[in-house]
Point group: C2
Chain length 307, copies 2
């Protein structure tokens, strides 16, 4: 395990070396957890690996690790939840990219899963990734987490993925295209669609580290703000960003007539909103002191990232 | 809870009244567990309810109850696993029916989920049902199951749903269309595609009832045989059955050039295979004595059902 010396002097649009080394840790854990590409059903396994191992910011695993660190936990029991949330995130992207959903042909600068493996295999790969996430989390006992905490982790993940969380948010998003949303409706949609899994990542890190109810509540205030900030930044980047840097098509939301923060409250208010959310996140984790530095760095990164 | 007096004199192509009353119990538990049709996201909730509450044999919940009864457990702790396996089964049907998969417009005598709600909502409803299954099972603690057993149940369900189970079997099935399979390949495909969840149902019933490792092993021998018998019967019905009774198109497998037991080993050998499998299933549960009568009835039903 690398020592975490958060790089607070680095520009917050990029992660410092310690968090980058955690990306490598997440990457290794993901590779270990996915089924081998050369065993049957080969095509399904390949599609699952393609969907997960194709880069990505690994923000959710980083949040698991950073939340665990805030509680003094740095051991292997953070790996299963880090992998689980990323498998869920990857599956959601595969399904969101399908022709019947957002119909995206490119993701992270590569053809999307259904373009490479066909729609049927992409649907199945997503389904199998979701199942694998829960299965791996149920193996968390092997790294010394108590059965009661393990069950709670599974409950948190299940809720975050379902109709009250990610899947529900995607349904709200589909229903919102071409409609005029209020700021509250937009925030609720994002709180479900991306916020629920981000909050789950932080909760899982906390639960794996044995956080108290008060600590879990503080972590959740942080995660709620970071999740929204991440989305506000996404919307700003969609207006300002360059496709080559984003790895996806800039201006796509506007073209699809999707409601965004800039389209509802304007660009300047969106930036102010972002600052406010970052402040809320940093306040929430103040009680954790020095150990919360990685969480703080991630909060600043979520608000300032360039892709 | 109704007393179970298994109706051994009833024709085995139909379930006796006691098992039918358990279908009603499963139905009530399903209705309680699904999100309400009138809360947001309304369309997603409606699609989930449509997918699950549209009839069906409820074989998997019945197997949960019957396995629990074999161990002397009849209480509410069987309800969450009964619901969980049926939610998984329902989600798999929704995704299997999609145009990119089997492209079925009718199921259980009604238009399929994507015909009614559109493809995007059908994909999301399936995704949300899978998440809900795990979430509900993680609430099993509330009915008094130990945390360790609860984690084991989640692990069993996760494994049954993933690349080594149901999703993997569906991938093998897609790859098999138009190919000549050996009997072993066909059995492996079905062992994954439908067998894994049937075995999980029986294991979950056993685990909820506190079964010993030996008892779980006996239950699994039973479930493995019943799962295969169920599929052999399915293939025979596809040749012999009437669409009106089946609620789906008879002869569809042959028309799609899908490998089946009759197409590989012939009709007579398929029937003999069915008898052999039923014998194996009944032998496996003999040690449970009288209490295994519901399991026995389900084994006979799986092999003799007319739809």
């Amino acid at each position: 395990m690398p020592q975490i010396q958060p790089n607070l002097s680095s520009p917050s649009s990029e992660l410092g070396a310690p968090l980058k080394s955690l990306i490598a840790r997440a990457e290794e854990a993901l590779v270990r957890s996915l089924p081998p590409a050369d065993t049957a059903p080969v095509e399904l396994h390949q599609a699952m690996r393609y969907a997960v191992l194709g880069g990505g910011k690994r923000l959710r695993p980083l949040l698991v690790y950073a939340a665990g660190f805030a509680l003094g936990e740095i051991g292997p029991r953070l790996d299963a939840p880090a992998v689980a949330v990323e498998l869920i995130h990857a599956y959601s992207l595969v399904h969101d990219d399908l022709p019947a959903m957002d119909d995206d042909a490119m993701r992270r600068g590569r053809p999307t899963c259904h373009i490479v493996f066909g729609e049927a295999m992409a649907i199945l790969a997503g389904d199998a990734l979701q199942a694998l996430a829960f299965e791996l989390l149920a193996h968390e006992l092997d790294s010394g987490v108590s059965p009661a905490s393990c069950v709670e982790m599974l409950r948190v993940l299940g809720r975050a993925c379902g109709a009250d969380g990610m899947a529900g948010g995607q349904a709200l998003d589909l229903a919102a295209v071409g409609r005029k949303l209020t700021l509250e409706e937009l925030e609720f949609m994002h709180a479900c669609k991306t916020g629920a899994l981000i909050r789950a990542a932080v909760q899982l890190g906390g639960l794996a580290a044995g956080a108290s109810p008060d600590q879990l509540a503080a972590l959740d205030r942080y995660a709620h703000a970071v999740g929204l900030a991440f989305q506000v930044r996404d919307d700003i980047l969609d207006v300002e960003g360059e496709s080559a840097v984003l790895g996806k098509t800039a201006g796509k939301d506007a073209a699809a007539d999707k409601p965004t923060f800039p389209s509802i409250i304007g660009m300047e208010a969106s930036r102010e909103h972002l600052d406010r959310l970052t402040g809320i996140a940093l306040d929430a984790i103040a009680p954790f002191g020095e150990r919360a530095a990685p969480l703080a760095e991630l909060a600043r990164y979520a608000a300032a990232r360039l892709r």
